[in-house]
Amino acid sequence: MTFDFAFILSTLPTFLSAVGVTLQVCLIAIATSLVVALINAALLVFRTPYLSRLVALYVELARNTPLLIQLFFVYFALPALGFNISGFWAAIITLTFLGGAYLTEVLRAGVEAVPLAQIESGKSIGLSDWQLLRHVILPQAGILSLPALFANFIFLLKETTVVSAVAVPEILYTTKSYIALYYKTYEMLAVLTLICVLLFLPLSLLLSRLERRLQHGQFGS
């Protein structure tokens, strides 16, 4: 089997736009997941009646069903109920559904890791709930959550390849289309692997650097 470099070159423009789609999907999904998680974590931390129960239920449901099935449900089953969502937005919604649940747990754990003494001290000087959250809990919980938060970002990034199943033209979809059309299996899988390494590795390194930077302030070492 010869390795066809000329063929690889001819596919690069398409792969470039596929990388764009992958980044779009995962960046939007990470942002929306974070918003969902912040709201949910607040509901959990304040033990809001009923709503916190609902959040707990959502977290369990989202974390215990496979992403691919959630995706198929949104894409293939929801149209029957009248919601016709495009592949791109079905991908965002599903990744947000899953990512939001994982990030909720991360943030909740971060809040719980803030020493009780800190909260009691805050209360003793007469801070209100919101003041306590803004000035005492969140700054510390945020830093404590960072490693797990970033790990989950990377997890979401890698999961985006699943959305190729609903015809979103991202990197795996592009790879599979080319293999199906020209049977350059080895070439295309090599390109896909290379793209993943070039895409995910720097991001992962960047995040861990950022993590060290931010935690530096926390421990002052």
Partner: protein
């Protein structure tokens, strides 16, 4: 103790190397032929469809059956003396050729149309069916002819003849590609696209069972042969299959399978000769 383990490990490693060095040399030497390899294994491994009735599907009893699939059983019977000495591997359109290339299966019997690009990648035997690509649209769709699809969204299954033909001849059409035939049909019924382009036999069969759809008259490209395929260069197995198809042709074996699986799926005026290729005698 450590030393002994190390020695054992080294021996095992060497033994492993030996085997590896031997295997690829086998076909070249010709001593142990591919057919002998299948006989030694006592099992024919065949890639088939599981969601494409009447050619390859799973029946109520959970058994792999269908026009193509049953040909695989007959091959096992004539090669190994027992129709159950066959292992079926479920494949999707796009995974058929990679499965052959990576030695996961001996043979693909999954309704694969012979195309020039595919001929580069695998070796086809003589054909067993003929097919043309057409398009399925909902009954009340405004689409009247293929030209209407130029400005609409057409669904295809990745790696099918329809996918290849449209990408080549109408690169500007908007295509929505899915992995499985069943997912593509699901997408059409969910309104994800305006038409589904696929081998006409599959569409006829589906349209007959699911009212509310029609198949456009016009064909996408010419009628083409469908044939079993082996790994590129596996001349021995290819020739065996050719001889086997010729032999089965004398018994009108494919006509029997046609009556069993295909006839009821198509309209009453369809002639068997317009669908099956008995004895591998038609080359398209």
């Amino acid at each position: 103790m450590k030393k002994l383990l190390l020695q054992l490990f080294a021996v095992a490693l060497l033994a492993g190397c030996d085997k590896k060095a031997e295997e690829p040399a086998k076909p070249a030497a010709g001593a142990a032929s591919y057919i002998d390899k299948i006989k030694a294994r006592d099992k024919l491994i065949v890639g088939v469809f599981t969601d494409k009735p009447p050619f390859g599907f799973v029946n109520e009893a959970g058994r792999y059956v269908g026009f193509d699939t049953d040909i695989g059983r007959q091959f096992a019977k004539d090669l190994l003396g027992d129709e159950n000495k066959v292992e079926f591997v479920a494949v999707e359109p796009a995974s058929r050729i990679p499965f052959l290339q990576s030695d996961k299966v001996d043979l693909i019997l999954a309704n694969m149309t012979v195309t020039p690009q595919r001929k580069e990648a695998v070796d086809f035997t003589h054909p067993n069916l003929k097919v043309a690509v057409q398009a399925l649209v909902p009954q009340n769709s405004a689409v009247k002819s293929l030209d209407d699809l130029a400005t609409r969204t057409t669904i295809v299954t990745i790696g099918t003849t329809a996918d290849i033909w449209l990408t080549k001849n109408h690169p500007d059409w908007k295509l929505l590609k899915f992995e499985k035939n069943s997912e593509s049909l699901q997408a059409l019924s969910a309104g994800r696209g305006d038409a589904y382009a696929q081998d006409n036999l599959v569409l006829f069969s589906w349209a007959k069972q699911n009212p509310g759809y029609r198949v456009l008259e016009e064909k996408l490209g010419d009628e083409a042969p469908i044939a079993p395929a082996v790994k590129k260069g596996n001349i021995e197995l290819r020739d065996w299959v050719n001889a086997e198809l010729a032999k089965l042709g004398e018994e009108k074996f494919l006509l029997k399978l046609y009556d069993q699986y295909v006839r009821k799926e198509l309209s009453d005026d369809t002639k068997p000769e317009s669908v099956i290729v008995e004895g591998g005698k038609w080359q398209g």
